[in-house]
């Protein structure tokens, strides 16, 4: 009767936190799945498909987030989401050659 649910806990490890591109990647990923995904930071719960809501968490490096999914592919979407976080949203971290968008002068 009830839909499968899944939960995970992740820590934001990339330096820039969940900024615009990271939030967009989250929303794009969640949109590929059927399950409804919520991101939770403290008392705040936001919809994973909505970049604006995800950004409003202001999740920075070191913050812990809970992820909750409800739907047939709940486990799968969270596995993929956790991967996105642990891979630091494919960003190069400090001492990288070039920051995002920064001009080398």
């Amino acid at each position: 009767m009830s839909q499968p649910t899944a939960t995970r806990t992740v820590v934001v490890t990339n330096e820039s936190g969940i900024h615009a591109r990271a939030a967009t990647l989250v929303a794009e990923l969640v949109r590929c799945f059927e399950s409804k995904v919520m991101l939770i930071k403290g008392n705040e719960r936001v919809e994973g498909t909505d970049v604006l809501q995800v950004l409003s968490l202001g999740a920075g490096q070191g913050n812990e987030l809970s992820l909750e999914a409800t739907g047939q592919d709940a486990e799968k979407v969270l596995d993929e989401l956790v991967k996105l976080f642990t891979e630091n949203f494919s960003e190069e971290q400090s001492s990288d050659k070039e920051g995002n968008g920064t001009e080398n002068k």
Binding site: E15, S16, G17, I18, H19, A20, R21, A23, T24, L25, A27, E28, D50, V51, L52, Q53, L55, S56, L57, G58, G60, G99, N100, G101, T102, E103, K105
Partner: protein, 158 residues
């Protein structure tokens, strides 16, 4: 962080004339230049950096909102401006909609925290439909400045 901490009131535009992404970004950075927030000889470099960031993925985040931004070594603190396009700008947004509300941010490369706090503030306020509607209806930069001030005073935040 509040709007007053990073939005330059003199650079706000209530009526963007450009209809494409690059023109819009140029118009907004020009506003910051005219307001004395960025150096004239850094103008092209800043515009180029913002466009380069857009190539990584559009900052059109849906609901008619875009947050074009970049890190740039020429600024020593976060500077930003706001613009409204009544016509709507094609920004390759996530949801395919044209953009009416734009928040442009330029931050020093070593201050990712400030950038994130600014984005948090912008997105938190824009979650409120009334605030968005009033912003879109603004006719002058003074109207926009006043709305930002009201938002800073928690008059919209839900």
């Amino acid at each position: 962080m509040k709007f007053a901490d990073f939005v330059c009131l003199e650079a706000i535009s209530a009526e963007l004339t450009a209809l494409d992404k690059e023109g819009t970004i140029r118009e907004m950075v020009q506003g910051l230049l005219d307001a004395g927030q960025v150096e004239a000889d850094e103008f092209e470099s800043i515009v180029k950096a913002i466009l380069k960031r857009e190539e990584l993925g559009s900052t059109g985040i849906g609901r008619g909102i875009a947050v074009p931004h970049t890190k740039h070594p020429s600024v020593d603190r976060l500077v930003g401006t706001v613009a409204v396009s009544h016509e709507g700008v094609d920004f390759d947004s996530l949801d395919g909609e044209v953009v009416h509300l734009l928040f442009l941010l330029i931050s020093p490369p070593d201050r990712p925290g400030d950038h994130l706090r600014a984005l948090e503030n912008i997105s938190r306020q824009l979650r409120d439909d009334t605030f968005c509607r009033f912003l879109k209806q603004s006719k002058t930069s003074e109207d926009i400045g006043q709305l930002l001030e009201e938002a800073d005073n928690n008059q919209f935040e839900s």
